[in-house]
Amino acid sequence: MIKALGRIAKMEGDVKSYLYHVQRSALIFDEAIREYMNDDIARFDIRLDEIGKLTTEADRLRRKVRDKLYQHMLIPEVRGDVWEILESLDKLIDVTKKSLENYSFEKPKIPDFIKADFMNLSEYTAKTVEELVNAVSAYFTNITIVTDFSNKVRFFENEADKVEDTIKKIVFATDKIETLAERIQLRYFAEKMALISDVAESVCEKLSVFVIKREI
């Protein structure tokens, strides 16, 4: 019995730690984008390295939780749901990491007049993920407040979409960007950043269904 209680405490710790990694990935992303926009590439590269290590550690934690869930037959009723949430969050970290890697590989030239919008988009994206982590955390501890956080996720995702649209409009309306290739590249980067908040919202929708299943 004591062993089982100890195991449960460890599992709680692992899930908490995993969620912390997801949250950190969004914060690192936001910082890295700011540094890129400020042309501080050295610090940007450090952030990229940081998110790479974080992804590896998050993967390890996710597998550990999965193994324990199935080995010890925990939460049989909602085990599939919990696993799906963790898998979706993993996808979120991957999308975040890939978005930063694209900056590193392609080194897009962001015009000064649009940098603030890119930083806004990054901020809203990070906030979406942050609220999603709060919602997932509440799913584990207090399902009555999951909806509050889910509403915030939807709000920030909507704001991120608006900024994404603004960037696209500016990019294709201005005559300060010379080539079509540059315009398409900037649109691509805006879309890839907004994709993070889209993924976060889709996890949130799943969560809303899983909450109903958790009602006694």
């Binding site: 209680l5 599992m11 709680e12 925990l74 939460i75 009723e77 919990v82 207090n142 006694i216």
Partner: protein, 349 residues
């Protein structure tokens, strides 16, 4: 000895059938939802059913005795056999059936055959409990649902911790349910054999005396345990997957409510306590654990706002209240005739 065992065999068959069917009411959802392993459930269920039968079975059995004291072993054999066959037929016909109602029908059939007067007061008391049992379980489940809801909301337990506590709850309540099942339902299995039982009291070194009735109930308890181990898994899978799909906490509430009802109708201690306090007593009568479970599930359904509630099941249960004792009584009457006139056995003194 061999003839005693032969005559007891119908009771043992009834016990086996009870173990096979009713263990699912206690541990069915816990096992099928994989909250508890079948082996763990079967061991706990068997141990506590036997303890309940031996330690607490006397109360409900004595009420059945008041309805009709079957004074010949062959008569008791027929009553138990007819009750078991009625349960089998009704189950095959997919009609809700209760061993308690079946055995009562059998006793009344014997009363008619033997020309013994059936005490209308006792019969009314027993029949009333058939209605009260599911209704009471429904009320318990309704109230417990809201208590559980408030507890889950306020305790803010982590999902894993809640799962662990539910698991412990299912084991503890399952043990209580098994005890109550043994205490309440052993009367159905072995009650009719009590007046004609040839088993004598056993004294162990003068320290402990095991009465003949307790020995009889122990044998019946073992038969129930065999039923649990050999056949209940299939029934559990059927109950867990087809009849109702409940969350583990709701399942816990259902088992708790049904167990409380079975306990109330079996506890001699509670009966004496209420009597000594001058309060109205709860009759000690064997009731149906299946119908208690159905009542509790309806209670949960009502607490959830009455969604997905199939009230048709209530009508089917009501039909069982009438059909089961009537069929069992008729079958007993006819079988007693054959036992007496064809097989030349004394079926009443």
């Amino acid at each position: 000895m061999l003839s005693i065992l032969f005559f007891l065999s119908s009771g043992l068959f009834l016990g086996w059938s009870l173990g096979a069917n009713d263990a699912a009411n206690v541990f069915g959802t816990a096992v099928t939802s994989r909250m508890i392993k079948f082996k763990t459930a079967a061991i706990i269920c068997s141990i506590f059913v036997i303890i309940g039968a031996v330690a607490g079975g006397a109360g409900a059995a004595s009420t059945l005795g008041e309805l009709g004291s079957i004074n010949a072993l062959a008569g008791a054999f027929i009553v138990a056999l007819s009750a078991a066959l009625t349960v089998l037929f009704m189950t095959r016909a997919m009609l809700p059936v209760s061993t308690s109602q079946s055995i009562v029908g059998g006793i009344i059939g014997w009363n008619f055959f033997a020309g013994v007067h059936t005490d209308a007061g006792v019969f009314t008391k027993i029949a009333a409990t058939w209605v009260i049992c599911p209704v009471l379980a429904m009320v318990f489940a309704f109230v417990l649902f809201f208590i559980a809801k408030v507890y889950v909301k306020n305790s803010k337990l982590h999902l894993f911790r809640q799962d662990s506590r539910t698991r412990i709850g299912l084991i503890v309540i399952g043990a209580f349910g098994s005890y109550s099942l043994g205490a309440n339902n052993i009367a159905n299995v072995m009650g009719v054999f009590v007046p004609s039982s040839p088993l004598k009291d056993l004294s162990i070194e003068g320290l402990l005396t095991i009465t003949g009735t307790q020995q009889l109930f122990f044998i019946g308890g073992v038969a129930i345990a065999v039923g649990v181990f050999t056949y209940s898994r299939r029934v559990m899978e059927m109950v867990g997957n087809n009849i109702f799909t409940l969350s583990p906490i709701s399942a816990l509430i259902v088992v708790m409510s049904a167990s409380m009802v079975l306990f109330l109708f079996a506890s001699k201690g509670l009966y004496d306590l209420l009597q000594s306090a001058g309060l109205p007593t709860i009759p000690l009568v064997p009731v149906s654990s299946s119908q208690a479970v159905v009542g509790a599930v309806i209670g949960i359904g009502l607490a959830k706002g009455g969604r997905n509630l199939h009230l048709g099941v209530v009508g089917r249960i009501s039909m069982g209240w009438v059909l089961t004792p009537v069929i069992s009584a008729l079958l007993t009457f006819i079988s007693l005739y054959f036992m007496q006139n064809v097989f030349m056995n004394t079926v009443y003194q």
